[in-house]
């Protein structure tokens, strides 16, 4: 197996619930050994996609290959090779940290000394030492999340799915958590993580922006920012709220959002000189063109529907 082999490959992956298309014709090609992100608002099909890729849901149609195996069909063969950390804490609240881990170890066929050694290793790695006998239900969000990650990686999976892993975690713990993900990645684990935080998405090697079940864009964060279909102009001055109202009615303005004392305006790429184009519209205010951020990419891809 080479490093360049694909961990996940889908073509036209689709899942419908009744008349709702939760995931619609999504093509993915995720190389091994990378951290890949699903970025999108709630209900965009991130969780449904992950559930299809873990074999929990069958696709309505489309082809899915995970670690070279075709789904549906190879779920059981893949169980030992993939790890899954659910969005909601899915370990047992009324078992202690160690009891939870022993349970998971046994389920994965690890028992006795081997299990103990691995659990010790994980406790140390995820900073859970000294909390061995604490009930999982009484832990903080960050601790629960580290325990869940320890459980999901206990059997050293080649491919790890994380469904919004940091939604209940403070920023400092989030940083720490991402350090652990890069540790895992550096030993060859492929990680697929879903998020609706821009700063998290920016850390990924590759990224797919999902909206309403469809993939709007994909690539590395840098590529996405460079190839964005809009240019970013910041306006500084007085009366920004009124200006925002005025600009959003312009068909060539994708979005206008206030950031502190400035208004961040996304102008469509077909406007060759955004500064000259905007000047008559903003009056005496000061204009500067700035580098796009991932949020701008997201807003551009989703047509400004999710950012006011």
């Amino acid at each position: 197996m080479t490093q360049h082999e694909l961990a996940i490959e889908t073509q036209g992956m689709t899942r419908t619930f009744g008349s709702l298309k939760a995931v619609n014709e999504v093509d993915l090609a995720i190389p091994r050994g990378t951290i890949y992100g699903f970025l999108g608002p709630n209900g965009c099909g991130k969780s449904t996609s992950i559930r299809m890729l873990t074999g929990l849901l069958r696709p309505s149609h489309g082809d899915i290959k995970v670690l070279g195996k075709t789904l549906p069909g190879a779920e059981e063969a893949l169980r030992l090779r993939i790890g899954y950390m659910t969005q909601k804490f899915s370990l047992y609240d009324n078992l202690s940290v160690v009891e939870n881990l022993i349970f998971v170890a046994n389920i994965y066929g690890l028992a006795g000394k081997k299990a103990k050694a691995r659990i010790q290793e994980l406790l140390k790695l995820y900073d859970l030492e000294g909390q061995e006998t604490q009930m999982a239900g009484s832990m903080s969000g960050g601790q629960k999340q580290r325990l869940a990650l320890a459980a999901a990686t206990l059997h050293k999976p080649e491919l790890l799915f994380l469904d919004e892993p940091t939604s209940a975690v403070d920023p400092e713990n989030r940083r720490e958590f991402w350090e652990r993900l890069f540790d895992l990645c550096s030993v060859g684990t492929t990680i697929l993580v879903s998020t609706h935080y821009m700063d998290e998405a920016e850390r990924c090697h590759g990224l797919a922006i999902l909206e309403q079940g469809e993939k709007r864009a994909d690539g590395s964060p840098q590529d996405l920012m460079q190839q964005m279909d809009a240019r970013v102009v910041e306006v500084a001055g007085e009366g920004l709220r009124a200006l925002k109202q005025q600009l959003t009615t312009e068909p060539n303005v994708l979005s206008a959002a206030q950031i502190g004392s400035r208004l961040r305006v996304l102008v469509k790429k077909q406007i060759k000189e955004p500064l000259t184009w905007l000047t008559p519209k903003v009056g005496q205010r000061i204009l500067t063109e700035v580098r796009p951020s991932l949020e701008d990419v997201f807003v551009t891809c989703t047509g400004g529907r999710h950012v006011a």
Partner: protein
């Protein structure tokens, strides 16, 4: 495979031992139910509130009233001047029955004695019972008061009334209801707790989100099922011990049969109930649904299994339904073992039926349980 079953088993036991409420229910349900049923269910009807319309008011009529009251079946709580008043009291629900003694009671008493002695066809009754017949138990209790020793009432020496056939009562000579109730209660309580606990077991994992993680692990459905029900076998035996022990000490219910037969019959029934719970848990989406389905099974198990009413007295259709319930078969076996010292071998039809039910249930539950969310 065994490692995973034991992992689930130990996890269940740990969770169970930390769940005070459930743990308390395991002990309290059998105790409370035993007290309730043991003391409350009584088919020996006593002390029915009754009224008296005595228009004769002679020493004879008073003697008859005393003889009736001495039976303890009725307590004469009210006196009425006319049968109409008494009827109104029955309608209001104040009393269950009225003894009406007409004004010519003394005369009737004499002619009754003379005529019945000579074997005449039509013998005028000396009085009348007016009964609220809506409750058949009450009605038949009063019917038992149709024959009163009129000779004694009249102060003459009684003629011996001979029965044509002698009756010998086996197993419960004192005719105490509780002797029949307590072993039957085993079936009812085990149905309730076993089905309830297991039906909630898998649904709870699903509701609390544990299932989504569990089904991405290599655990197999059968392993999950077996690990889930195994701890409750022990729970079932604890309950059997509580019910029979308390039944023995508190109500003097004999345990005549061998404990091995009892244990085997109970084990088979516990298995059958647990798998029934599992089947429910694979159908129900929420714990509330699981609870409702449990009640759906529990009610016929109480009413049709022979616990309350004799199986043989039920219409055919009800008997077929009853045959489909594990409780019916267990009720038969446990009463046979506890009260009649029967062996499981003598009850092999019911034993085999329970085994078949368990295998079928386990098969359905395993097939119905999908390691998927759709």
């Amino acid at each position: 495979m065994w490692l995973r079953i034991f992992a689930i088993l130990f996890k269940e036991i740990k969770q169970l031992s930390r769940d005070r409420m459930t743990f308390g229910m395991i002990v309290m349900i059998p105790l409370v139910q035993l007290m309730l049923f043991g003391y409350a269910i009584n088919t020996d009807v006593r002390h029915l509130p009754a009224g008296l319309v005595d228009l004769n008011n002679s020493s004879y009529s008073r003697a008859l009233v005393q003889a009736v009251a001495a039976s303890q079946v009725v307590d004469f709580t009210k006196h009425y001047a006319s049968p109409h008043e008494a009827e109104a009291a029955i309608t209001r629900g104040e009393i269950k029955a009225v003894l009406y003694l007409p004004a010519d009671f003394g005369h009737r008493l004499v002619t009754h004695r003379d005529n019945s002695g000579r074997g005449k066809y039509f013998v005028q009754p000396v009085g009348q019972w007016l009964v609220d017949g809506s409750d058949t138990m009450v009605a038949s209790a009063i019917k038992g008061l149709r024959q009163m020793p009129l000779d004694e009432v009249m102060g003459r020496s009684a003629r011996q009334v001979r029965s044509n056939l002698e009756v010998v009562l086996y197993f419960n000579p004192e005719q105490r209801t509780v002797v029949n109730i307590v072993p039957g209660l085993l079936g009812v309580i085990l149905t309730m707790t076993m089905v309830l606990f297991t039906s909630a077991a898998i649904v709870r994992e699903r509701e609390q989100g544990n299932m989504e993680f569990l089904i991405t692990t290599p655990v197999r459905p059968l392993e999950l099922m077996l690990g889930k029900i195994a701890p409750y076998i022990l729970v079932g035996f604890i309950q059997v011990g509580i019910i029979l022990g308390t039944g023995h000490w508190l109500f003097g219910v004999p345990v005549r049969g061998g404990l091995d037969s009892l244990a085997l019959a109970s084990l088979l029934f516990i298995f059958a109930s647990l798998t029934l719970g599992l089947v429910i848990s694979t159908i129900a989406k929420t714990q509330l649904q699981a609870m409702q389905m449990t009640v759906f099974v529990l009610l016929p198990s109480i009413l049709l299994s022979g616990f309350m009413f004799p199986y043989e007295a039920m219409p055919n259709a009800a008997q077929w339904i009853a045959e489909g319930l594990p409780a019916t078969h267990y009720m038969r076996m446990v009463r046979a073992v506890v009260l009649r010292d029967a062996e499981v071998v003598q009850l092999r039809f019911d034993a085999l039926w329970l085994i078949g039910f368990t295998c079928l249930g386990l098969l359905i539950a395993t097939l119905k349980f999908r390691k998927r969310l759709d």
